[in-house]
Amino acid sequence: MDRTDSAPRYLEVNGLVKYFGNDRAVDGISFGVDKGKFLTLLGPSGCGKTTTLMCIAGLHKPDAGEIGVGGTPFTSVAGRVFLPPERRDIGMVFQSYAIWPHMTVTQNVAYPLEIRKMDKAETGERVAEALRLVGLSDMAGKLATQLSGGQQQRAALARAIVFRPRLLLFDEPLSNLDLKLREQMRVELKRIQHEVGITSVYVTHDQAEALVMSDEIIVMSKGRIQQRGGPHDIYARPANRYVSNFIGVANLIEGRIARVSGPGRGEIEVSQGGQRVLLPCVLGEGLSDGSPAVLSVRPENVEALRDPDGGGPRLEGEVLQTIFLGNCLDCRVRWGDFEFKVLAPSRDRLRPGERVYLRLDPEHTLAVQP
């Protein structure tokens, strides 16, 4: 996914800046998306993700930077270019479904084609195809108000894809749905996007959504990009403490790089409440001998052993709490004054009060920048 060459990408955003008053909501970000790919802008509220999306849509005018799609310039502040939103040929799906209550599903979905003055026969064909894709063929004649929340969102999606736009933009489209439906819609939305092959930019604060759906994720904070990469890169190799904490669950302990043993390898020294240990780890970027660093290890990469034997360092601790979740056991283990989160196999049947020896998988023990 990492591209260092400067070959143009389908969607290109360069040096984008947007102020609200004195507040720099988007602080000079650049990224690109290849044709047909699904990119997610992920971050907490106020990180600039939605503002970036609105700039792409043409609903905000940026203060600096350029945006272009497939060679067509949308915006160039320096070049005084600003293509109005209706001429950008973009499909959008929002949190609020924004479908017309007085129209049937078919009428709603046909609307963008009528504006474009498409003939009746082709409109009918395209609407039927869009409804099939989103699984609403049976609902075509229903009024929008007769649909459930999930179905309304499917109708909104059908309306966004029916005119085969150059780009699909999503602004937290699933956040009004309940958890079960949301989980199901994630997988389905991804499938539909894949099938229609329309380049998509998706905004969310929900990290699980981003992991499940995206080809590529950009993690944002305070108007800037913290990290970009495939879901697995972001999860397994977070660039810094911020990303590590925002995506998934991580045990984070402050420490210091004790030794660089090879390219990207080393040892981190951490101490907590009188306990001190040297742990082999994967070194993140910008870390060298003696630099302060944060140890980051996911609960599923910590093993709680009843027996200390075997090679490598072990952290001796006490099980404080176990929560049985069926497929796994969510444990808290005290080491010094640090509480490790450990995801253990249910079959281990750990109990509170037990003495255990933690083994941190060196392949997944990371040292990242503070």
Binding site: L211, V212, H232, R298, F324
Partner: protein
């Protein structure tokens, strides 16, 4: 004798039998959960214990006292049973302080002022709200309101507290947190609890024992681990957690293990697999092989030494960070596999699934 004893409970609504001969025993201090889908009879059973429904058959005893008996025509009123209740809508009064909310029931019962003060203070202390007694209910977090509801239920020193899906109105994050808090609280206070839910995770996290119900009948009783790891039948396996249920035939037994044949549909030969369980089945009988997604290993090339191999192709994957959920087509079956490490898998890619014979379980219906 157990603290709460329900024997042969029957409750009909018109022609429909909502509870069909339920017997269960709850020990003092235990947290027992009635778990099942809607319409399984769990709430009706709870309401019979509470005295809100009159049973059509069977008997309910609390501390040896018969509170309901269809044969003897006994059915005590709810207030005569000395039980506490926490419902889904926890109905904490917004215009009252925490103290007044909890004291309300005692005032209605016309207890003396000193007595009310003493009992209320004790209940608030137990749920950890002593310092918030004078705060208005509107100023409380969702979790704190839940504690007020619990304090209100225990302020009379009830013999048992009954819970009817108390967490189902909370959002997902708060619910997760409250599960743990509530079960900790229950153990600290040491009060006997009967809890109704349709949420299997809630039941697994909170209970000492789980009673799984379906269609008015108890399917299995056990601690959370045994319910999950040794489900008694296909219903329990499918309802608790995620299970792949593959239908087949028991061929025979070898030592403690079953030899089973699972048709794949189509031209492929059937699978011959070895698994545990199946004690109640005999050779030639139809069985259901239950496999948990986390007990299946996925290989990119055919493993040489393993016996239980299922060849298939990837349908799709869902990456969740800590797990990779993968759907694999094995003949006509779709098998869900949960992998605890990342693996790049493309749709239609050929893969080989294996499982340890003692991790597969043969069930009957």
């Amino acid at each position: 004798m157990s603290f709460v004893e329900v024997s042969g409970l029957i409750k009909r609504f018109g022609p429909e039998v909502a509870v069909n001969g339920v017997s269960l025993a709850v020990e003092q201090g235990d947290f027992v959960t009635l778990l099942g889908p809607s319409g399984c009879g769990k709430t009706t059973t709870l309401r019979c214990i509470a005295g809100l429904e009159r049973p059509d058959g069977g008997e309910i005893r609390i501390e040896g006292e018969v509170v309901a008996s269809a044969e003897r025509g006994v059915c005590l009123n709810p207030e005569e049973r000395n039980l506490g209740m926490v419902f889904q809508s926890y109905a904490v009064w917004p215009h009252m302080t925490v103290f007044d909310n909890v004291a309300y029931g005692l005032r209605v019962r016309r207890l003396g002022r000193a007595k009310i003060r003493e009992k209320t203070a004790k209940a608030l202390e137990l749920v950890g709200l002593g310092h918030l007694a004078e705060r208005y209910a509107t100023k409380l977090s969702g979790g704190q309101r839940q504690r007020v509801a619990l304090a209100r239920a225990i302020v009379y020193n009830p013999r048992v507290v009954l819970f009817d899906e108390p967490l189902s109105n909370l959002d997902a994050k708060l619910r997760e947190q409250m599960r743990i808090e509530l079960s900790r609280l229950q153990h600290d206070v040491g009060i006997t609890s009967i809890y109704v839910t349709h949420d299997q995770t809630e039941a697994l996290v909170m209970s000492d024992r789980v009673v799984v119900m379906n269609r008015g009948v108890i399917q299995q009783v056990g601690d959370p681990y045994s319910i999950y790891a040794q489900p008694a039948n296909a219903f329990v396996a499918g309802f608790i957690g995620v299970a792949n249920l593959l239908e087949g035939t028991l061929l025979g037994r070898d030592g403690g293990l079953c030899e089973v044949e699972i048709p794949t549909g189509g031209a492929q030969p059937p699978l011959r697999l070895r698994a545990a369980g199946g004690e109640s089945a005999s050779a030639g009988q139809r069985i259901i092989l239950s496999l948990r997604p986390e007990d299946i290993a996925l290989h990119l090339s055919r493993p040489g030494d393993s016996a239980n191999v299922m060849e298939g192709e990837v349908i799709d994957t869902v990456y969740l960070g800590n797990f990779l959920d993968c759907q694999v087509r094995v003949g006509a079956h779709e098998v869900g596999v949960q992998i605890d490490h990342y693996e790049h898998l493309a749709p239609r890619q050929r893969v080989y699934l294996t499982f340890r014979p003692d991790h597969g379980l043969c069930l009957t219906e």
